[in-house]
Symmetry: C2
């Protein structure tokens, strides 16, 4: 997330046209599946890493969170978040998620939507998040699916007539930097295996509560391109819980 594409004016303008930017949570295909695995926010201290426009911060506040901290590297994103959701329970902080720190056991819920694949090293971040969580607290995040990030181009493989043939996978066990094109602009992401995501959480003592590959909601299947989303997994949703002491 130290890369800050979102403060590039042209990229930001394109991003602001995406349905997840314009419509918020209901514009994000994975939201119904993500909402199903969320913990109860009432009275909780919540952190959102890579909060973007702040839609999830707003959701947490609207569902009773006691406090919400939204962290993002992009000044433009945070300006928009403050405009859209000027809620006194939400604090926005401009920082790379690799650089923020919180007291041990001070957070009930750490949330992150589609941001961890911008982070080069997942284990140190996971270790810090586990420290910040109180016992019984939850980490919930979405990332691009390892099957989706492995090859690098994040695009289909096409036949001679331009038709989709399938989705290509390669270099799966070669973790690290990938240069994809997103909204017509080059973007750097980091591929890592499912093993690295899940075993890192387990090594840090978290209990896996959910591991879900979201499918497009049935009611959206008739939208253009949506049936192709059944052909390969694009995202991975995880909920992991820090055990209660002595459990």
């Amino acid at each position: 997330m130290k890369e800050n594409k979102y403060d590039d004016a042209r990229f930001f303008e394109k991003y602001s046209q995406m349905s997840r930017s314009r419509l918020g949570l209901r514009g994000a295909g994975e939201w119904p599946a993500l909402e199903r695995i969320l913990p109860d926010f009432s009275g909780r201290a919540v952190l959102d890493l890579g909060c973007g426009y702040g839609w999830h911060c707003r959701y947490a506040a609207d569902h009773g969170a006691a406090s919400v901290i939204g962290v993002d590297l992009s000044r433009r994103m945070l300006e928009r978040a403050r405009e859209l959701h000027p809620d006194p329970r939400i604090t926005y902080r401009q920082a790379a998620m690799e650089d923020v720190d919180f007291p041990a056991g001070s957070l009930d819920i750490v949330f992150s939507s589609l941001a961890f694949h911008y982070v080069r090293d997942f284990p140190p971040l996971a270790e810090r998040i586990c420290r910040w969580l109180r016992p019984g607290g939850d980490l919930v995040f979405s990332v691009e699916h390892p099957t989706f990030t492995a090859y690098g181009s994040q695009d289909w493989w096409y036949g001679p007539g331009g038709e989709i043939l399938h989705f290509p996978v390669d270099r799966y066990f070669t973790e690290g930097r990938r240069e994809a094109v997103f909204l017509g602009e080059p973007v750097i992401k980091y591929h890592r295996t499912l093993t690295t995501y899940l075993e890192t959480l387990l090594e840090n003592g978290l209990l896996l509560r959910h591991v879900v590959e979201p499918q497009p909601p049935r009611e959206l299947l008739d939208q253009p391109g949506m049936r192709d989303e059944l052909r390969r997994p694009m995202m991975l949703l995880v909920r992991a819980q820090k055990p209660l002491k002595g459990a």
Copy 2:
């Protein structure tokens, strides 16, 4: 597993030439990764579903298991297993894994190597396994990776010169029957998503202890074709534990 390709003489002969058949565990590329996540077998009651030649039954017995039941649908496989490992602690039973039953709480470890992807319906099997396990007991299994089974052919995508381009993924969220070619013979397998494997275990109250995609051991990387195994995940190894009562 109700399909019984392994009692077809020609197929069985080819299978018996594979390094995992001739050499046992050390002939299986995933074995080092699988061995690392195994629970302690000492004094345990062990079940092996789809035991094949019985190499894992033998391993469990050699590592102190009190009793081992090896289940396989193939008469030929079990004959070979009895010849290779005539251990009084091991009992072999010819049956489909969908058909066997055991008293609730009677097993400490349920193991299965590369067999669950022959089973059409995973949830009912998982439910029965969870019932058979005593609290604190473990289910450990390997399956073909969902990324590997999705497309169906289980083969690379080749360029015009016959060179490997990448591995194709398609129909990921369309679970069910796939017809692949294994050892030159058509074989029916069942594709299911990672979500189905893991969420089914979680819904049955198991704790996920390990989720690992094995990579070829470094010392084998110079064998023909082995570097290509770094290009896509072929297997998934899972260890899941039934919680102790009250935990």
